[in-house]
């Protein structure tokens, strides 16, 4: 017989478990090649600042044979996203990658790295530099980005989407569901800033 005492304690946690966590990143001293990839940032170099302590540490280490900093952007002095796969595939198998930028960017790059034959254990994601999200509309499948508030207007169907914390690594996006499908009065007057 099950009694109330046997029942597990319910602790309510509103957090959705598919939302990525970004625990502190430390340098993998065994890597043959330390690869630092940052998104070129127009509003200050937050991504670079996140990577700097790790790069400093790598430079002091005697084991690391190679330190490769890559800045991804559109200007002439940086590498473009479309050039990245070729660069990545030329790296030694025993490389470690450290990625910093917006959340969509770091997951996009992680995908390219895995497609080049590396495994996710070699990829270290620094916390996203801001609250910008990529949003997948569950009704028309269109992508809207960057999204910083909820609800957000879908770029495809124009519906007002509640931005949920449910994240897909395949789409590198959060899911959005129409907020006022049950009643148009459910549309809040003001949108809420995402964290």
């Amino acid at each position: 017989m099950q009694t109330n005492a046997d029942k597990p304690e319910l602790t309510l946690n509103p957090g959705v478990k598919s939302r990525p966590q970004y625990p502190p990143v430390s340098l993998n001293p065994a890597a043959q090649c330390q690869v630092f990839i940052a998104r070129k940032n127009t509003t200050g170099d937050k991504a670079g600042a996140l990577l700097k302590p790790l790069m400093d540490e790598a430079e002091k280490s005697e084991k690391s044979l190679n330190i490769i900093p890559l800045v991804v952007g559109e200007d002439g002095d940086v590498i473009s996203m479309s050039q990245l796969p070729q660069t990545i595939s030329s790296l030694p198998l025993a490389s470690s990658f450290y990625l910093a930028g917006t959340e969509a960017f770091i997951w996009d790059v992680a995908k390219l790295i895995c497609e080049a034959g590396f495994i996710m254990e070699q990829v270290h994601l620094l916390p996203p530099v801001n609250n910008e999200r990529r949003l997948f509309c569950t009704h028309c499948y269109a992508i809207t980005e960057p999204v910083t508030h909820s609800p957000a207007v879908c770029s495809g169907c124009g519906r007002h989407l509640l931005v949920r914390d449910h994240f897909s690594k395949i789409h590198r996006a959060y899911v959005g569901v129409q907020i006022d499908a049950e009643d148009p009065a459910d549309l809040p007057e003001e949108s809420e800033e995402l964290c």
Binding site: Q2, K7, P8, L10, T11, L12, N13, P14, V16, K17, S18, R19, F136, T138, H139, Y141, R159, R164, D165, H166, F167, S168, K169, I170, H171, V175, V177, Q178, A181, E182, D183
Partner: protein, 339 residues
């Protein structure tokens, strides 16, 4: 008892879906106790189960077969992405075809016939009037991709889970009657990722235990569990994709129409190991029963009242019952004399 598929009913617009007396009797009522508690309620799906019951065969074919296949066709025509299979899932799709055709032709010889001549297979689905010959394992010899081909011939949603690194990945499926989850969005997710939005269960360790159990399922030892929610109107396709079309119906329940509007929606979930690919077939067979039909069974009516009354708030929200839960509890109270 099982009634033969004959009638053609709708799960949308005019909602002509009804259950025969036999279908009500065999309905898989999901509550073993007066209080609903989360649990890893998985048990062996020993075949054959009791004659005529929903557990008799691996694939339960009932009086709604033709209607559900017609509904599936409508959903796929509106949105072909409701069915998908990643390229590495091809062998698992063929495993699914093998398992379905082999068991269905043995379990329902009047409806399905299979002849194998080496890798040349001859399949007849007399209910849907299909007569196909193909080379087993060669998808180019089928009229459509293998996941869709077989998925269009079984009731219930099917997901094929790839097993690797001790985890299960949602890498193929045909999902046209889901209880509010999107295959297109959840595709490729790990077991815990696609259960991410489920409240409370993660903290209770439900998914850790379930995953350990599921990854160890051997061939020919399927397991099952029941899951449930409520649906307004006999709508099979309660997907996020079509939510803008049906969301407003959640507000249409009144004390007068509860009995006919609110349906208990039960999923018979079966997990079955695929022999060649080592994938897990996850079949989600959905049964709908109106409150009016449910309360014809006095034990069910009383228990339904008690379970609904004691349902924790996070589950009411998660299952989308917020706007009619209290109306339902009040309506059910008259079937529970103690209250």
């Amino acid at each position: 008892m099982r009634t033969a598929p004959a009638k053609l009913e709708t799960f949308r617009d005019d909602f002509t879906y009804t259950n025969s007396k036999e279908a009500i009797e065999r309905f898989p009522f999901p509550f073993p106790e007066d209080e609903y508690a989360y649990s890893v309620n998985i048990e062996p799906h020993t075949l054959p189960g009791p004659a005529g019951s929903v557990n008799e065969f691996l694939f339960d074919i009932d009086e709604h077969y033709l209607s559900e296949m017609a509904e599936r066709d409508l959903v796929l025509k509106e949105n072909p992405k409701r069915c998908l299979a990643m390229p590495h899932m091809e062998p698992a799709c063929w495993d699914f075809i093998d398992r379905a055709m082999t068991t269905m032709s043995a379990d329902y010889p009047d409806y399905f016939k299979l002849e194998k001549n080496g890798d040349q297979w001859h399949w007849q689905n007399l209910l849907l009037k299909l007569d196909d010959t193909f080379t087993f394992g060669d998808s180019s010899t089928l009229p459509c991709p293998p996941m869709e081909y077989m998925g269009r011939q079984v009731q219930g949603d099917i997901a094929l889970l790839d097993q690797r690194d001790g985890d299960l990945f949602l890498d193929a499926g045909i999902v046209t009657c889901p209880a509010d989850w999107s295959l297109a969005f959840d595709a490729g997710m790990s077991f815990k990722e696609w259960h991410g939005p489920v409240p409370m269960a993660h903290e209770m360790g439900v998914f850790d235990r379930a995953l350990k159990y599921l990854t160890a399922i051997p061939v020919d030892r399927p397991v099952r569990r029941l899951n449930w929610t409520l649906t307004v109107n006999a709508r099979m396709d309660t997907s996020p994709e079509t939510y803008p079309m049906w969301g407003a119906e959640n507000r249409s329940v009144t004390p007068e129409n509860v009995g006919e509007k609110v349906y208990l929606r039960v999923e018979l979930q079966v997990l079955d190991r695929m022999a060649r690919s080592n994938a897990l077939m996850f079949s989600i067979r959905t049964y709908l029963i109106s409150m009016d039909d449910l309360v014809t069974n006095k034990d069910w009516a009383r228990r339904m009242h008690r379970v609904m009354k004691n349902l924790p708030e996070p589950l009411i929200d998660y299952k989308g019952l917020t706007h009619y839960h209290q109306i339902l509890v009040d309506w059910l109270a008259k079937y529970d004399p103690v209250n």
